[in-house]
């Protein structure tokens, strides 16, 4: 049974503070969508709304055909995995897993059988008798996962499930979560602040900021084609250069930075360029070359600190309009303090709408 999750213009408040602004989100049946953002962006609030621990001020939440909006949490049938595991400290591992089955009125024998089978699946069969306090962090989270999965919920939700684990375990658990989620085809909502985690585990990622979804797309698209400056900054486009078009000549567009530096960009290479835009580039996308005759036109800069990256040199470049990071070839090391030219590499740059 796979169903979709739909949030329709959901608004939420803590007291008088609005924490979600008209948020709409559709998670397709069987899909894993991550909510990614820094703390306070509303990702956990969204999850708590879906779980039923919080009521939206307006809007609706549906799971398949079922309207969850005003349903009490215990009637929603959602599997939840918490950051702090939230195991029942007074119950054995087996009873923890069987808890949800007990609430569903299953007989003791059946509960045991199902709980043990699920513990087997997460590799904890031999730990069934243990108390949660006697488990390691990774084991606790696997018990929490088993406990959420055993009730066969149509929706699984994860609230930063890996942030209390060490790095190596995090990667293992990530793979494990994905494997179990895929195997069951359970629609999932995954909350994290870790970009790598979100990108590696998700079908699609929603990058959130200040109670809004800034962009919802496949990780590849987010990484290469951010839709706005916020997302661009989030995925590592360190150079965001606001520009204004001063002349158009067929496909060639001449644009100026706020500080007056002029660039000529080809629309064939960069795509359609509006009159005002932000040129976004990672250091890779801004090529640093020596200033001089016969060199491509670009933004004139003064070089600062040079860092050896192995595949290239990275330079801090200062201009009257601000500082940028660009990369130069290993074949031509340039000295700090010398003048250079920064020119955008079309396939590594994005043309974004201006920030307000």
């Amino acid at each position: 049974m796979t169903v979709s999750l739909t949030l329709d213009s959901v608004t939420a408040h803590y007291g008088s503070t609005q924490v979600l602004k008209d948020l709409s989100l559709a998670v397709a049946a069987g899909e894993l969508v991550s909510l990614l953002g820094s703390s306070g962006c509303g990702k956990t609030t969204t999850l708590r709304l879906v779980a039923g621990f919080l009521e939206p001020t307006s809007g609706s939440i549906r799971l398949g055909e079922r309207d969850l909006t005003r349903l009490p949490a215990h009637q929603r049938n959602i599997g939840l995995v918490f950051q702090n595991y939230a195991l029942f400290p007074h119950l054995s591992v087996r009873d923890n897993v069987a808890f949800g089955l007990k609430q569903r009125g299953l007989g003791a024998a059946e509960r045991l059988k199902k709980a043990d089978a699920m513990l087997e699946r997460v590799g904890l069969a031999s730990f069934a008798e243990r108390m949660p306090a006697a488990l390691s962090g990774g084991q606790k989270q696997r018990v929490a996962l088993a406990r959420a999965l055993v009730i066969e919920p149509p929706l699984l939700m994860f609230d930063e499930p890996l942030s209390n684990l060490d790095a190596k375990l995090r990667v293992d658990m990530r793979v494990e979560i994905r494997r179990l989620q895929r195997a069951n085809g359970t629609t999932s909502l995954y909350v994290t602040h870790d970009q790598e985690e979100a990108f590696s585990i998700s079908d699609r990622v929603a990058i959130m900021n200040a109670g809004r979804i800034m962009q919802l797309d496949r990780p590849e698209v987010l990484y290469q084609r951010p839709a706005n400056s916020f997302v661009a900054r989030f995925v590592g486009f360190e150079n965001l250069i606001p520009m204004r078009v001063s002349a158009r000549d067929g496909g060639a567009v001449t644009a100026q930075t706020d500080a007056g530096a002029t660039l000529t960009l080809s629309q064939d290479a960069f795509g359609a360029i509006p009159d005002r835009f932000v040129l976004a580039a990672r250091p890779d996308g801004l090529a640093v070359t020596r200033a001089g005759e016969g060199r491509p036109a670009g933004i004139p800069v003064t070089l600062g600190i040079r860092t050896y990256l192995g595949r290239a040199y990275q330079y801090q470049c200062s201009t009257p309009g601000g500082d940028y990071l660009g990369n130069g070839p290993l074949t031509e090391p340039l000295e700090p303090g010398s003048s250079a030219i920064l020119s955008p590499v079309p396939e590594q740059c994005c043309i974004l709408p201006p920030e307000d």
């Binding site: 779980a51 039923g52 621990f53 009490p72 949490a73 215990h74 009637q75 929603r76 049938n77 959602i78 599997g79 939840l80 918490f82 950051q83 702090n84 939230a86 195991l87 029942f88 400290p89 007074h90 119950l91 808890f99 949800g100 007990k102 609430q103 569903r104 108390m131 306090a133 929490a144 406990r147 959420a148 009730i151």
Partner: protein
Amino acid sequence: MVKRLTPWILVVPASLLVLLLLILPVGATLLATFADAKGWAAPYLAFFNSGFRRTVLWRTVEVSLITTVISVVLGFIAAYVVAQMPGRLKSIMIIAAVFPLLTGVVVRSFAWLILLGKNGIINSALLALGVIAEPISMLYTEGAVIAAMVYLFVPLMILTLSGVLEGIPKDVLEAASSLGAAPFAVFRQVILPLAMPGLIVGAVLVFTGSFTSYATPQLLGGERQMMMGTLLYQRAMVTFDWTGASTVAAIMVVVTIAIVLVMTRLARRLNPLAA
């Protein structure tokens, strides 16, 4: 050498205090009961052969148990409500709950005299409202003693339990409801078992407190509702029957220890974390 002795040296003052002020006098009291000319068991036989004294003992156990049960229930409800409150309000409520502890037991028991007396506030109010034609006598009943003792001990219970209830992580409760547990199931299957240690500690405190209480039964129960504490006082200070008084004391110590042992055993059984 000195370093290894330091911890022992540090416990000496407290140990001396306990030895001098607790173990020696209690030991002497117990010994006194066995020094009877008519044989070591004679004072105890005398105690248990007296219908009156058996009644006093039984009444004390009964009043203490009822007080404990009511205090546990009321204290639990109050602590649960307080634990749900936002931070500031919570501190205010805890202070309000503890406030009565700042005055003496006698003062607080006396307050009940004013409430329950023949011309007390409750009788006056009921008379004025025409609910009753004659004042009801509420003083010097078991009910009066229990009411006052519950009032004395509920703050203790609230203090013990609110700490325990606050210690239950919120996400554990949320996990329970996400797994389909209705509010009552969450209470019975998660909150209650996790609060059990605090519940037992509180119950032990309330039981021993009421079992050994003196001022409250004296003021509100009088002669008619005599309890062990008042009996002890009467033996020692009115009839100067020191052996009889020591016997009462010895029985109180034994009953208290027995009840505490049973309760801690129960606590260990019911405390899932110790398993």
